[in-house]
């Protein structure tokens, strides 16, 4: 029984409960003022993106010179969040944090008022590795089992993924193109619902991101059968990649922070710098480790933009291939 109840903890929480509104100073021209910064996250509260955003908010605030709020806007498949950032005053106080499905896939497939290039990635936070998993007592227990069964009886296996064409659906489409197998694609509201259906035995396979199933894998309830990445995931080191199994499909999803293109470049740079400085602290690293957020190799503007261009090209290729079918 060694729980110390520190006085500092009480002080910190007392401070935050005052809910004080930040003093408003008009931001002048091309530098970041001290108005509150808003990180818009086009997903529901409580998910892995939310946790990452809150780690940034808690650590980067002092370096960026003002309070950072995390705003969750899951409406319209995330489109509402993007719209909000695009409409905001271009002073760098409203930024977006999202994976590629919101900024690239949806922009390419939907009629949006912006182009893919309007989103300027400023920080590359981490890469997610889409993972396929099944219930532990299912007949399929490996990539080979799956392909074999799907080839024997096309469209007999139900595969749960989040939104269509999202980062946990595109890899499945690519694999089907590569191997010619066919599955029934079942859209769900997200990783939580997919997992419920897998555990309840309502569907056969599902795709999600490693941190959300680690605990179920360790307790032996589900089996992760394969990872769509170049290397195995740190948190699931025993799970092979699809490349190891002989299928050349890999699609890691970068998690990026974006500014809208109308924000001046100097402010973009300033934001990138202060977020990176904030995430480089011990507290931030400790938080990231506890939450399995993978923020140990955060990259700045240039790397983020390179990977964004690369991902855009890949998504375009996949979409073009889908439309050919």
């Amino acid at each position: 029984m060694t729980f110390k109840l520190s006085i500092t903890a009480v002080a910190v929480s007392a401070a935050m409960l005052t809910l004080s509104a930040g003093t408003a100073l008009a931001s002048n021209g091309d530098s970041l003022g001290s108005d509150p910064i808003r990180i818009v996250m086009p997903y529901g509260a409580g998910g892995s993106t939310d946790i990452t955003a809150r780690i940034i908010a808690a650590n980067a605030a002092e370096h960026c010179g003002s309070r950072i709020d995390v705003v969750s806007m899951p409406g319209a498949g995330g489109m509402e969040g993007l719209q909000f950032v695009a409409d905001a005053e271009p002073n760098g106080h409203t930024i977006l944090m999202a994976d590629y499905s919101a900024t690239i896939t949806q922009t390419l497939t939907e009629d949006t008022p912006w182009e893919v290039e309007d989103w300027v990635p400023i920080v590359h936070l981490t890469d997610w590795k889409p993972t396929v998993y099944v219930k532990a007592d299912h007949d399929i227990q490996s990539i080979e089992d799956w392909i074999e069964l799907a080839e024997a009886e096309p469209n007999s296996l139900i595969f749960g993924h989040a939104d269509p064409l999202s980062l946990v659906h595109l890899p499945l489409v690519m694999l089907e193109q590569e191997t010619g197998i066919q599955n029934v694609h079942l859209p769900t509201t997200g990783g939580g619902e997919t997992r419920t259906m897998i555990l309840g035995g309502h569907i056969d396979l599902g795709m999600t991101l490693p941190p959300s199933i680690v605990s179920n894998v360790n307790s032996g309830e589900v089996t992760a059968i394969g990872v769509f990445a170049d290397e195995r995931s740190d948190v699931l080191p025993d799970v092979p990649t699809f490349q190891e199994a002989g299928y050349d499909v890999s699609f890691e999803a970068p998690l990026l922070v974006y500014a809208f293109s109308s924000v001046p470049e100097s402010i973009q740079q300033e934001l990138a710098d202060c977020i990176m400085t904030g995430l480089d602290t011990d507290t931030a690293q400790r938080m990231s480790e506890q939450a399995s957020a993978g923020l140990d190799d955060v990259q700045g503007l240039e790397s983020a933009q390179a990977i964004y261009r690369d991902t855009t090209q890949r998504v375009k290729d996949v979409l073009a291939a889908i439309n050919q079918d």
Binding site: A9, M16, G44, A45, G47, I51, V70, N216, S219
Partner: protein, 504 residues
């Protein structure tokens, strides 16, 4: 087990932890009472700070906010007819009527007691039978969920006394309102009438407050107005005279009345606990379903909708009884079953605990401390509520000529503040106009709101089931649980149609 309890109580009953629980409950009741804001919002705001607190204190704070918020929603629902939180929508049906009859204190006390009883029941279920109940919850796939949604809609519509057809019609309108926006599967916009602002769909808060509260405020307001112009004596005038003579000492909840509501409270506790354990079903559904069942089994079903204390008790206990059981899927499988559970899951993760089957074995002490805190927070809720309620009932009895303008403004500004959205306010006023029209044409409003709340879930469940069944409707009756729900719904309709005939 005993050692463990002692260690856990040392953690849970530390003075700082107790302080945080009280602070949380106070914050939760206050935020819950403001229309549009809920405990979830405060929990989301406080998440990053959880990292800096000791786990027991952080849990105390969050649990306090959550429970306070659940009860706080009923204060606005009863006092002004404005459901403070979505879960309190069912409470406002009878709660506001009871207040209009000059019984705000009775109504608020019934809400408080049933809320605490329902909540405690659900916490005990979480502590003792979480694992078996979680296994039952998992058997609910899309097919079963669709049946559950259909059952609850039919139940609510069937209870619209003598107006089953109109009830079904407004439920359909509610579902249609929920379909506005993007199709969840193809992503295409639909039913937006060419307005890009609607592509995000209508949000819950403005529709809920507009249908229930704005319409009520406006109809009451126009009656007052007409009375002022025409010197007409109608029911509002009677109320005004009643309010002037309001004496709180005559408005005490008696033991006999309390005992009479207990059956409804137990029904609410059972239904709420069960619905809470189903991932994704939600507080509002639990409240409406308990309300419907309690009316079915009441000895005075004709009082429902006219200020029945049983109605308040069932709705409020059903709503609060989701509080403990919503954690069952989170603890058993790491699946957050509701927005609140997702936020608690995030808090666990930030504190270095992974939600899921290993949560209990890896962090036994802290989880047991959490269990104790859950129960303790109910006591705090009861105490604080008891102390504050007399003041709330007096506020509820301010003269309507002054109160209606205030509530009207609060509802508008509060709706805007919930999402900082201008569109939401226009939706609110549109929903208000719709509510007024339906009220004047004697349509029941509860089925509309329930249809709107469960519309998206029902649609997803239906389409998922059909995809799984290869596009064949027959898939909907492939599950025994689903068949059970459909049979029960059919039986209820028959029962109500004939019970009605017999009475006339």
């Amino acid at each position: 087990m005993l050692d463990l309890l002692i260690e856990a109580s040392a953690l849970a009953f530390h003075p700082y932890v107790l302080m945080y629980v009280m602070l949380g409950v106070l914050l939760g009741i206050t935020l819950g009472a403001i229309p549009g804001l809920s405990g979830d919002m405060a929990i989301a705001l406080l998440l990053p700070f959880v990292f800096f607190l000791e786990p027991a204190m952080a849990m105390g704070l969050l649990v306090g906010i959550y429970k306070g918020g659940l009860f706080g929603g009923s204060i606005a629902a009863i006092s002004f007819g404005v459901p403070g939180t979505p879960g309190a929508a069912a409470t406002s049906i009878d709660g506001y009527q009871a207040k209009l009859k000059g019984k705000p204190s009775k109504a608020l006390h019934t809400a408080l007691y049933s809320s605490v009883i329902g909540d405690t029941t659900s916490d005990l279920v979480l502590i003792f039978i979480a694992v078996p109940l979680a296994a039952v919850a998992l058997t609910f796939g899309p097919i079963e969920f669709f049946a559950l949604y259909a059952f609850s809609l039919i139940l609510i519509a069937a209870l619209s006394q003598g107006m089953v057809a109109k009830g079904l019609a407004v439920a359909a309108i509610g579902i249609l309102l929920a379909m506005i926006g993007r199709d969840p599967i193809t992503g295409a916009t639909r039913l937006t009438f060419g307005m890009p602002e609607l592509s995000g769909g209508l949000s819950l808060i403005p529709v809920l407050i507009g249908i229930f509260a704005i319409s009520e405020v406006v109809v009451q307001g126009s009656k007052l107005w007409r009375r002022k112009v025409d010197k007409l004596m109608d029911d509002v005038a009677e109320q005004a005279s009643l309010l002037q003579g309001y004496d709180i000492s005559k408005d005490k909840l008696t033991w006999a009345e309390f005992k009479f509501t207990l059956k409804a409270t137990y029904i609410g506790a059972a239904v709420g606990t069960f619905i809470g354990a189903l991932p994704g079903a939600g507080q509002s559904l639990a409240a409406f379903m308990s309300y419907g069942l309690a009316q079915r089994f009441s000895r005075k079903p004709e009082d429902f909708g006219k200020g029945s204390l049983e109605g308040i008790a069932s709705a409020e206990s059903g709503n609060s009884a989701t509080a403990g059981s919503t954690f069952i899927p989170l603890f058993a499988f790491g699946i957050p079953g509701s927005a609140t559970a997702a936020l608690f899951g995030a808090a666990f993760i930030l504190m270095g605990m992974t939600p899921g089957p290993s949560l209990l074995t890896d962090n036994t002490e802290i989880i047991y401390a959490l269990f104790l805190t859950l129960i303790f927070a109910n006591l705090v809720n009861l105490m604080l509520g008891k102390v504050l309620l007399p003041y709330y009932s007096r506020i509820a009895m301010i003269q309507p000529g002054f109160m209606i303008p205030g509530v009207f403004i609060l509802a508008i500004v509060g709706t805007y503040a919930a999402n900082n959205s201008v569109v939401d306010v226009w939706v609110l006023l549109f929903a208000g106009a719709l509510g007024v029209t339906l009220r004047l044409m004697s349509f029941p409003l509860a089925p509309l709101v329930l249809g709107f709340i469960i519309g998206p879930g029902a649609e997803r469940a239906l389409r998922q089931s059909m995809i799984m069944g290869g596009g064949d409707w027959a898939v909907l009756i492939k599950s025994p649980i689903a068949i059970g729900f459909y049979v029960a719904a059919f039986a209820l309709i028959l029962l109500f149609t004939f019970a009605l005939r017999a009475k006339k």
